[in-house]
Amino acid sequence: MSGALRIISAGPGVTIQDAGRRGLLRFGVTPAGPMDQDAFMAAVLAAGDADGAAIEVSIGGVELIAEGLALGLAIAGGSFDIRLDGRALPPACALRLEPGERLSLRPGRAGAWCYVAPFGRFDLPLVFGSLSTHSRAGIGGLDGRMLGRDDILPVTDLRPPPDRLLAIGATWLEAARTKLRVLLGPQDDYFSHDTVETFFSSRWRVSARSDRMAYRLEGPPLRHLKGHDLVSDGLAFGAIQIPGDGTPLVLMADRQPTGGYPKIAHVIGSDLGPLAQARPGDYVAFERVSWETAVAARRRRADLIAAGPRLASEPGEISTEFLLSWNLIGGVVDAKEVD
């Protein structure tokens, strides 16, 4: 059985993503994949396929309908305003979308990305084993590009949709953070001690010139001690590059695989999701942790993801901490410390 989703409208930056494209990084092929892997995992696991794909909705928002058959959809991400034919839904939920019903996602209180995963498989061609869209290279997803009005997304291998609206509880999304944790280096020696202190003591505003490739951070310019040109090196998700103008660039899912600016620090894996959910205009700050702390956080997150999300029809069955977390995700610095 197969069905389809039709895009009624989509703002810029709405794409199809799966876990990412692996194996060709050494030939310059960016993995792409979700900006917020934590929220993405909540959506695809709730939709019943750990290896599945989802529509990644930007703050441009999206409106879509099911064509032909009713489809199950699982939604998780930032605190978006989600509506089914105008009726407000919880910010993370699984639902049955009847043909002709309109589902809309608009930016809500906080958060920059939201994931809509079908109870089924997008029937689109894999490019080197992945559906992830890398729009700069024109690879993956639907014709290698962002989604737009009247695009049809065929969905096959349908799984039964939920028979009622379910709230999704994903424990690994609960930890909102006042500060993003980083490992220092490797090129922290390109900066004076005072400059490194400035990096840690400043609040950084996420620039409007931010996208899936990199988040640009506005704050005090960070001056280099010994020039800003480096022989090109590999770039990891979360690398904080300082180019010549001293404005930090945090490399994100669509980063180029190599680059030639000094990297003062790297955001740890567990804090990439909260970073991704920071919107232009939001503030972030950084704190230094050890490799061991980063790995302990990674282990905790992996264990929670392995246990899977909870689905509940009554809001009361989901912990209040979980609901609270939806108010906090994305407001990284301004949020209260919860743990």
Partner: protein, 242 residues
């Protein structure tokens, strides 16, 4: 400069950079590629993708499977220096058109270098290049071996998107591009060959460590070859290394 011992640097908790030196030097790149191939042969658990560059190897790994200390220990045990050979595995010839109608910035670059476009083309086509790495975008192939006379700093501000198959110079290096992207380098030629193609598996022809030379062609030949490349033909000629 080549360090006496490689530096092991953290790029976050799940990527390790093994840095052999701090310059663009074939002797360094040989060490990088030798470590990468030794690592791939050994295939230790928890190791993911690797990215060789001019002077370093980035190793993505899963720290919940292999600790940093275990990874460094297994890298130390590989002793790839003994197997490092500067000889190119394969030599490739790529057709390249230096005519100004296709080589959009050749006049500008030649002017900055104080020579004619013809002389620039002659020097560029007369050199042997080493493929150091891929980076930036799919199939963007970074070359060393640019004649010293063609060393030119990058532009102050990037130019608009490169044409398909642009051959570029900048920062003392040369580069063969694939898809259109803005760049701070100069377009001094165009090759009809696709260095990266979704229709090929693997999508690239040329490996880091291979050698490349350019065969000058005129614009008419370029368009004839371009049509053949567009229909899926491979134009690059491979000479096996002796």
């Amino acid at each position: 400069m080549i360090y006496e011992r490689p530096r092991y640097l953290d790029a976050g908790e799940s990527a390790l950079v093994v840095e052999f030196g701090d310059s663009v030097d074939p002797a360094l790149n040989v060490l990088v590629l030798a470590l990468e191939s030794a690592l791939r042969r050994a295939g230790p658990k928890g190791v993911g993708e690797t990215v060789p560059t001019y002077r370093s190897l980035m190793i993505h790994y899963e720290p919940l499977t292999v600790t940093r200390a275990e990874l460094v220990a297994s890298l130390e045990s590989l002793s790839p220096r003994e197997s490092a050979s500067p000889t190119a595995k394969a030599r490739w010839r790529l057709p390249c058109c230096y005519a100004p109608e296709l080589a959009e910035d050749i006049a500008l670059a030649a002017h900055s270098l104080g020579m004619t476009g013809e002389r620039l083309a002659e020097l560029h086509a007369g050199a042997d290049y080493r493929v150091y790495m891929y980076g930036f975008a799919p199939g963007w192939c970074y070359l060393g071996g640019l004649p010293r006379e063609l060393a030119l700093p990058r532009r102050d501000t990037p130019r608009g998107p490169t044409p398909q198959g642009a051959v570029l110079i900048g920062g003392g290096l040369s580069l063969v591009a694939t898809n259109p992207m803005p760049t701070g380098w100069y377009v001094i030629g165009r090759t009809p060959e696709r260095l990266f193609s979704l229709d090929r598996n693997p999508p690239i022809l040329i490996e880091p460590g291979d050698a490349i030379g350019f065969d000058p062609i005129d614009a008419r030949t370029f368009w004839a070859l371009e049509a053949r490349a567009a229909s899926g033909e491979t134009l690059a000629r491979r000479d096996e290394a002796r």
